[in-house]
């Protein structure tokens, strides 16, 4: 498996970044819970996707795994689909 070269201190640095992002993610969780409208919730979920990409990239540095960049790529591409489904189905001509 390919690895990235990193200093020992860098591992902790990137992990701290990932942790920080995770904390913001938990804050986003609260927004999903509170709402109040469906659109708020959906936007929070989108923020989730973006933050998730950030965490994955930080983790790929911390854990020195190139494959995680692929995961981030897939997440970045696919997170939008839920939004499109939301726009088309919940806010579409039927409602």
């Amino acid at each position: 498996m390919q690895t990235l070269n990193a200093m020992p201190w860098a591992t902790n640095f990137w992990l701290a970044i990932a942790g920080l992002l995770l904390v913001t993610l938990v804050a986003g969780l609260w927004r999903i819970w509170r709402g109040p409208t469906a659109t708020d919730r959906m936007l929070a979920a989108q923020l989730f996707g973006t933050t998730g990409v950030g965490i994955l990239l930080a983790l790929s540095q911390a854990m020195q795994q190139v494959a995680l960049i692929d995961v981030a790529l897939v997440l970045a591409l696919l997170a939008v689909i839920a939004m499109v489904a939301f726009v088309k189905r919940m806010q579409g001509p039927s409602s």
Partner: protein, 324 residues
């Protein structure tokens, strides 16, 4: 540092699951569910399982989320037609014992599992060593692909059969008179977005498939991405599901046909079922995987697109309402 991150992640995951379960509003549950899929993908990363993270990112956070949104939209759209239909109603107030019994059994389940995890014996057999040992003969470098398509390829064959059966059932469920989906006009924004987004999706799908032979990736993850791209196209108003029925059937079954044919035809050379000749194992596996990716993508998409449109014809409803 590591532990703090994992603990936070685990707690967030549990909170998210609780959020799914205790949301009175169904849509909130769905959004929580999408978030759950994303957190789970992160957990797989922490468990050193990037393959699963890929699959979860594509399936859990992507496809399943869309399926759920679609279903909830279906419920609310139909709800407008059914005056007084029970929507998200969990019935009368339950008795006290029917409150206590589930709590009790859930606690029991948790304690039993806790014990099972805590006092687990050390495994006398180590499959990872065996996998590592046989990896050079498998034709691929990535151990998970080797397990899925060589060592335990029979599981995978049956699994594709499972997917195919799901599609057959979906086809059987489809009403005979399918009506065109209402309001499926092309949205200019979506149209532009899909023109920019779908090509990279397809490229990434193929890349993930190709990467599978030496690093995390493979047919399932690639197929899920392909399916997502197709779903996107359908949402954007491209009528790709209106392919010729027979063509679609062949596409759905192609991966399975190729897999089964290869699995059986190696027996002509006197080898057991599903034994790839070692010299061409890598090429055969890649060929099968490519076909599987195509079929899995089509199957997952098909499971999405066979769903009745949100505004279903209400002709069959008349009799039902009279009954009540």
């Amino acid at each position: 540092m590591n532990l703090a991150f994992d603990v936070l992640l685990g707690i967030a995951l549990l909170l998210c699951a609780a959020g799914v379960f205790y949301s009175r509003d169904l849509f909130r549950a769905v959004v929580m569910f999408i978030a759950f899929g994303l957190l789970l993908a992160l957990v797989w990363v922490r468990l050193d399982a990037p393959d699963l993270a890929l699959a979860e990112a594509a399936i859990g956070a992507g496809l399943t989320g869309v399926l759920m949104i679609d279903a909830v939209a279906h419920l609310s759209a139909k709800n407008a037609h059914h005056q007084g239909a029970q929507f998200d109603q969990t019935g009368a107030r339950p008795q006290l014992w029917s409150r206590i019994l589930p709590v009790f059994s859930a606690v029991i389940i948790f304690i039993l599992l806790l014990g099972a995890i805590w006092w687990r014996p050390d495994a006398p057999v180590s499959l990872p060593d065996l996998v590592a040992e046989s990896l050079p003969e498998s034709g691929v470098e990535h151990p998970i692909t080797a397990v899925l398509l060589n060592f335990r390829s029979y599981d995978t064959l049956l699994e594709i059969a499972v997917l195919l059966v799901a599609v057959v059932v979906a086809m059987a469920l489809k009403p005979d008179t399918s009506e065109p989906e209402a309001g499926n006009s092309k949205d200019p924004i979506l149209h532009g977005l899909s023109a920019r987004l779908v090509p990279p999706m397809l490229v990434v799908g193929v890349y993930i498939l190709w990467a599978g032979s030496y690093m995390p990736g493979g047919a399932f993850q690639g197929g899920a991405i392909l399916a997502a791209a197709l779903v996107f196209l359908k949402l954007a108003g491209f009528g790709i599901e209106r392919l010729a029925d027979s063509l679609l059937r062949i596409g759905l079954a192609l991966g399975f046909i190729v897999f089964l044919t290869v699995a059986t035809s190696v027996m002509i050379g006197g080898r057991p079922f599903l034994t790839y000749p070692e010299s061409v194992a890598g090429e055969l596996i890649f060929f099968i995987e490519a076909m599987l990716t195509f079929s899995i993508g089509l199957i997952l998409f098909s499971l999405f697109s066979q769903a009745p449109p949100p505004v279903a014809p209400t002709s069959s409803l008349q009799g039902e309402q009279d009954e009540r």
